[in-house]
Amino acid sequence: MSTPKPRVKLPKSAAKDEIITIKTLISHDMESGQRKDKDGNAIPRKILNTFTCEFNGQAVFSCNMEPAISANPYFEFNARVPESGTFKFSWVDDDGTVITHEQDIEVK
């Protein structure tokens, strides 16, 4: 499969302490390990197993993902923004790859 590509949607700016909505979507097959190929061999599990979101180094949201989660996982959550800074998102693949994405927000 092609390299997973993250998409993140959050406002470019916010008022101090405003609660914003963050949406993330990433392309990934989330191969569960339960399926078999045409020859009957089990297809090994390969999923994104962890998702984290940090703001200026501080954890905002994180979760573990399990094989039952469907392809292209989507998360939507809220966060309070106390100051200007950077949201850092990371997804950890079973093979150890970490896919990261950063996006800035300005507090007006």
Binding site: S2, K5, K23, L25, S27, M30, S70, A71, N72
Partner: protein, 285 residues
Amino acid sequence: MKTRLTIISLAGGIALGCFAGLAHADPVDDTLEIDGQPMITRAPAPEGHPFDEVLSGWLFREAETRAVEADSFQNPGMLEVERAAEIWSTPEGTAGKSCETCHGDVSESMKGVGAHYPKWDKDANRPINIELQIDKCRTEQMGAEPYKFDAKDQKAMTALIKNQSLGEPMSVDLSQGDMQSWWDRGKDTYYTRTGQLNLSCSNCHEDSMGNMIRADHLSQGQVNGFPTYRLKQSALVSLHNRFRGCIRDTRAEFPKAFSDELMALEVYVTWRGTGLSVETPAVRQ
């Protein structure tokens, strides 16, 4: 094991549901806006159409599914559209050309194009759809191999091109070439019962439109959202794949993709959705 049994009984239920205990459920009274852009999901039917009004399949889906389509960010089909935008500008084949070399910016050159296929192709002396038009460009202009049917890139590129017509009402020009006779042939196919279950397209999508087959809400079988992101497959599903799937479900042998039979059906079924907005990539169950 229990899960597997349930799946098998569901598959059986598709057949049984046609004959036993049909429940009626109306399409929802809702309007679709994708990122604020209004879509035509109800349109007056063209002359000679069995319905008064043509309805998008979006109206027949659950609220959650409808909501995913209404926000292009949430729509996983858009991931493929974005990926295809990269393919668009990547040179391929012996001529060293990309789509962009000839067509420039996809959002300008392909605007409104996908809403009016299939089109008559003089060289092939038959109608062609977007997939075959892409292949034609690849073989004749780029010196590249045509895509294999349902290759991931074929579905993505088709979705990219149709997505440039998002919101545009679909129509086919039946005055081109011999289109009318292909329309006639497609109509024949639509009303011909096939398979061990002896079902035609019209049995479900016309006679039983709005009814439930078990958990599935039968729509008019419109094609305005193809390639469609189907949650069941977690992937884009092409129109000819869906045609074949439906025919397979009647337990018939199914024709090859892009065969004369299915191309005629595409011409006819596209006409049946005249006036509906292109929703590609639509999100369905």
